[in-house]
């Protein structure tokens, strides 16, 4: 694959290195001449000096034949514009933008960027997984269907302990798919399955009904 990376900072450089190791054709576009020289010195002639938001630069580096376009500069707005130019002017099939402000993830999506990566959100997700007291953990996003898979733990003091699944006020969009009770023993819940303390419940839900699902499972 021919992959163009905009921004030769730390993220851009290590990304280029990893993708080169996988055997892809890589090109980094970087404004700063010193950074440019550093990357060429380390990785060979894979870096061009220029502004990755400018049509002229992108024409020169052959964006028209790129399979993937990744913008990882430190500025969200530059990443957005670079990806939009690549998408609308050069018809690159896959555009990926990095955002620093987590709120921009949804904005970029609305504005047509294929994939948006927010390092802030990624770190937050990891914290959720690592902190055991967190009531709900995001396991996976099924973005194109608007669904997500989450894990909910039932605390020892939950008001729902002893209730059967059919008695819970589950939101319509949520489905309980698995209950992990003791080690190595998953149960597929039925309407009559009764909740116990320390149950770990894996459920599919929409982001909107996340809150309602949590309340239904743990009580208020």
């Amino acid at each position: 694959m021919y992959i163009i990376i905009i921004g030769g900072g730390k993220v851009g450089y290590y990304l280029a290195r990893a993708l080169l190791d996988e055997g892809h054709e890589i090109l980094v576009v970087e404004k700063d001449p010193d950074r440019n020289e550093f990357i060429c010195g380390e990785l060979g002639s894979v870096c061009v000096r220029g502004d990755g938001c400018e049509v002229a630069t992108l024409t020169e580096v052959g964006t028209g034949r790129a399979d993937m376009f990744i913008a990882v500069t430190g500025d969200d707005e530059d990443n957005l514009v670079a990806c939009q130019v690549a998408k609308h002017k050069f018809n690159v099939p896959q555009t990926i933008a990095r955002t620093s402000n987590p709120k921009n993830e949804t904005i970029f999506k609305t504005l047509g960027i294929d994939v948006t990566v927010s390092s802030t959100n990624i770190i937050l997700e990891h914290i959720e997984k690592e902190v055991p007291t967190h009531p709900m953990t995001h396991l996976l996003d099924i973005k194109d269907k608007g669904l997500e898979i989450v894990e909910v733990k039932i605390p020892p003091n939950a008001t729902t302990i002893g209730k059967a699944v059919k008695e819970l006020k589950l939101p319509k969009e949520s489905v309980l798919s698995l209950i992990i009770r003791s080690r190595k023993k998953p149960i597929v819940p039925t309407a009559s399955t009764v909740l116990q303390a320390e149950d770990q419940i894996i459920a599919v839900t929409t982001p909107e009904s996340e809150e309602a699902l949590r309340t239904a499972l743990r009580g208020s």
């Binding site: 021919y2 054709e25 002639s45 028209g64």
Partner: protein
């Protein structure tokens, strides 16, 4: 000065011929090796292995001609056609790989933006070469 492995990058200017003659004389006594290389630069808009017919033909002609120049000096050289994104790093890599002890290249006087300019290849080679470098400047009366 004596050398055993000389790399002569050529570009098709009159300076190439004199540079080649000089290379032959510098290594004749030692019966050293000479490589003439031509680098075809491929624009990023094309894949690196694209076959750019007119460019390749031109390069082959230049290399054939430079081999004849060497023959006139009673010397047999090897020629090499390389395809790359940038000329400078390719010449340096080639010199490293062949363990050349000299890079000998002809330059012509150029002006860019009103100032004397060596372009970007020569300065890169001077800065990064793994061996000695001789620049031959062809005098062209103005």
């Amino acid at each position: 000065m004596e050398f055993n492995k000389i790399l002569v990058p050529v570009t098709g200017t009159p300076a190439d011929d004199e540079a080649m003659r000089l290379a032959c004389r510098l290594t004749k006594k030692n019966k050293g090796k000479i490589w003439a290389v031509y680098v075809v630069t491929v624009k990023r808009s094309l894949p690196l292995d694209a076959e750019i017919e007119p460019e390749i033909k031109k390069a082959e002609n230049i290399l054939d001609r430079i081999a004849i120049v060497a023959e006139e000096e009673d010397y047999e050289i090897e020629t090499d056609l390389l395809q790359a994104r940038e000329v400078g790093p390719t010449i340096v890599d080639e010199a490293v790989e062949r363990e050349a002890d000299l890079i000998l290249m002809g330059v012509i006087y150029k002006r860019r933006f009103g100032q004397f300019s060596l372009g970007n290849v020569v300065p890169y080679v001077l800065k990064n070469a793994p061996c000695q470098v001789i620049l031959y400047h062809q005098y062209t009366p103005r």
